[in-house]
Amino acid sequence: MEDITLTINGKNISCPSGTSILEAAKQKGIKIPTLCYHPDLEPFGACRLCLVEDEKTGRLMASCVTPVAPNMTILTDSPTIKTHRTNIIRLMLANHPESCIVCSQGNRCELRQIAADLGVGETDLYPMPHYTGLEAANPFIVRDLSKCILCGKCIRADHELVVAGAIDYNLRGFKSRPATLYDMPLERSVCTFCGTCLSMCPTGALSLKNEQYVGSPQNESKTICGFCGVGCSIVMGSVDGRVVEVNPSHEQETVNGSTLCVRGHFAHDFLNTKDRLTQPMMSHNGELTPVSWDEALDIAAKQLVDIKKKYGPQSVAFIGSSKCTNEENYLFQKIARVLFETNNVDNGGYMSGRAVLNRVEKRMDGGYRINPLSNIDKAEAIVLLGADPGHSVPVMSYYVKRASRKGTPLIVVDPKKTEMVPFSSVWLNLIPQSDSQLINGLAAMLWKKNSFDAAFIDRFTEGFDVYCEGLKGLNIETVCRDTGLTMGAMEKTADLLAGKKIAFVCGNGILKQRYGIHSMNALLNLLLMTGSPGSERGGLYIPARENNQVGAWDMGAVPDALPGRRDLGIESERKDWERAWQAKISPDRGLDVIRMIEEAEKGSLKALYIMGENPLRSLPRPERVRKSLERLDFLVVQDILLSETCKIANVVLPGAAFCEKAGSFTNMEGKIQPFEPVVAPLGEAKADWEILDLLAGKMGSTQHYGSLEKVKTEIARFIPMYRDLDGHEGPGWVGNKGDRRLFNPDGEGTLIPFTPVVSIEHKDINDEYPFTAILGSQRFHLGSGTRTGQSDRIRDYGVKGEIELSLEDGARLNVQDGDSVRVESEHGFIEREIKLEKGLSEGFIFIPVAFNANDAMNLIGLTRLGGPDSPGWQGCQVKIMKL
């Protein structure tokens, strides 16, 4: 399209047609005051402050909604304009309560700023404030709608960005205000408390509820959110070294734009809780007592080294953290591999289904790993498989909902009616664990329609013939029986998917499920058949639960891969790292988290070093884990909170939370995001990399890093995927593997194999445990809730993690909302309140995890994930008794 030239305040400007006058002026650095304009929202023209004058005609126009036209001559600051703007502001102020002195928005109030710029003090108008009640029952947002200026930013953010639909304008004229359905308080609406509206409100109509501090923070600095794997860019405001508020960082090209979620926005209270570790501690007669850093590090180093000398390298193990930085995980596994000559190193990513992801990694040659969430917008169809991103990775759900609103077909495969279902074209409420049959069934239907990407299959894959034979043999009626779905629903789905590139979002419902490997294999087959990988219009999205789940793996904090995801079992790969580290690397695969617990139980594992993980809360069967860890000769825990695991440790080392240190996280898109500290570590606590560096010195390492830069340089030098890490150009992307053949025809790589169709025989349901429990997360908590459970505002909100039960089962068991029940599996039991839900089928219950010290883990067995016969951690058979 041709550019349009115009003059604004005498300056010649050239910009593409369709640009608004406001944006054109902004590009030239001409400031026009606005209250309702936001670059991420559709222009609206509500506040009229951005009025500009056409010099030729004298016409006044709202510049945010007026596109540029050729040869316009615009004045943004003429006397007429000023008069009008001043009058608008005077009228707004006359309608505004004079509560500035107690308003938490303070000098950040945009209305006040503009009034000041225009020189409006007294309005000389009769004050007519429109008082409404103050709404502050929820612990997150205070609504004082008497301060609302009706700019509509909150409403548009709600509709356009997070697509929640909690609020819209209600009534008209003077009475008009944003309101929820039936004008209920926010907590009784569909509001998810993502706080996006809060960050956008120009006045104090929406303000942050904070019992600790009210007002503007002293400092604001950017960092990356430390909760889920989306890796949102945030700005943290601090006062006296304490984080008091969080907002999305208003930069271009961030994954979250102007949005956040309830965790990112409000759950940072845990940073200031009294349970933060501020000094090193050692256990004396079962009591943790403070000691000096020197003493703690000396003992930790000596004990670990002695145990290794006495019992050999296999007697020591290391659990790294999917929450710690890339640099820290790199150092951590290097200590294990070089100083202790063991591959007994794992990280919390195990709990997020790494075993199944390993299969993806192997089969796809790493070629799926770079997938910007912004590509969801380009997908031709989206399938959510056992994923409820609204709760697990909320910012991703906004992408999916936006795409769906735009008309992209959305298929939700979930036994539970999730919040994504109202946005879906089809909801396949299948019987849990029948995912692989469903996927194979859909593949067979597509194949019958001749809907497959022959060119893609030819070029990148092998084994399609054998796969087709398998599909031919499938009986769709059997699939319907196994999955509990109707033929109509299957057909509708196949019609929607036919001929399209598909974006699959694959969650814990596959990764941690029984038959997860089979389902994943089936899914990869379907993915390849449709030619979806490597295309912007499709692909595989794995919602990462933890902020650095991807990076911890990349850095080699896993028992079977070296940094850079190099295969430990391949000699040449090992040799590369032996050269880099000038050390011998054991070729033996190390213990994973579960094997570590088992070996400790047997007594063959003697010492364990845990960094930033809380296995006593996050693993199944906490009591068994506790007993097992108590058998260890020596346990070191490096953490930020006095977690359950810290309490049984011999040495506790206080680390720093993500906003108290520098480093980098790799998000679920494959984006490497470096960040700097916002505040200093609490008390004597130190950044984890620093602790590791000091400890390595005491353990006999001759290499002292001394600065994070040196760690980064080493990573960038030896891990080609992270070659951008030591650059200072802002975020980079995981390279190398993404350059493989799938994405780059000249790149290297082998053909990707199809796997044969595997049919699964369903096991009969045990009569003693007639209900199928599905375990899942709720957006208020992350992972096992170690951190979010310590967050005051999350606790105050009062979500109790009620067990959800179908209406029919509720009637049969004679229970109502709020009744307490005992849920028992073959492994253990929990007691909770019940909530009846329309969206559940009979025979199924939903148990939110992370509540009550994550007691739901008592119900499942401590088994390894991803094995062909592993029962998985996502569900179990239970019985229910009313209490």
Binding site: H159, G165, I167, D168, Y169, N170, R172, A179, L181, P422
Partner: protein
């Protein structure tokens, strides 16, 4: 006396007829308003779901237009004009008289759901000032006698029904 029981089947039929047509929100609401006499608040979510809108959006549209009501109204809705011309011609007295006659304030409905009293900014019939409407009928050049006789007429009608 209670307002007429809502015919759920009828309501459902109206909504189903418009299912999937997001553009048809206002015609759909008009049809509900016409048929049921008001828009039952509990139908907001059903309407929203059928039209693929947010319930809050549907509520916003309903509360924006004076033509839609979320509360049941009387059988006869009296709208007294408060426009400038009517005001000059004594519209205020007409309203006062109406309040007294019906025993209702503006926006109120009697417990038997016979009459609802409303005011309106202008009926657009200034040459007939002062004016009012009862349901769809205009009454102009009002005076106290005429008001009482019009009301008597409707009161009688109600007796018949």
């Amino acid at each position: 006396m209670k307002p007429k029981e809502i015919d759920r089947e009828q309501l459902k039929a109206i909504i189903d007829r418009h299912r999937g047509k997001t553009w048809a929100l206002i015609p759909l609401l008009q049809e509900i308003q016409e048929t049921i006499g008001y828009i039952p608040p509990e139908s907001i979510e059903t309407v929203a779901e059928a039209l693929n809108l947010f319930p809050s959006q549907v509520q916003g549209v309903i509360t924006f237009y004076a033509g839609f009501s979320l509360e049941p109204k009387g059988k006869y809705v009296v709208r007294v004009c408060r426009g400038t011309a009517c005001h000059v011609k004594g519209g205020r007295s007409i309203l006062r008289l109406m309040r007294k006659e019906l025993g209702l304030d503006e926006g109120e409905t009697d417990p038997e759901y016979r009459f609802t009293l409303e005011t309106v900014a202008c009926l657009g019939a200034c040459f007939l000032a002062p004016t009012m409407m009862v349901n769809r009928n205009y009454y102009g050049k009002l005076n106290p006698n005429k008001v009482t006789s019009v009301l008597a007429q409707y009161r009688k009608k109600k007796g018949e029904s």
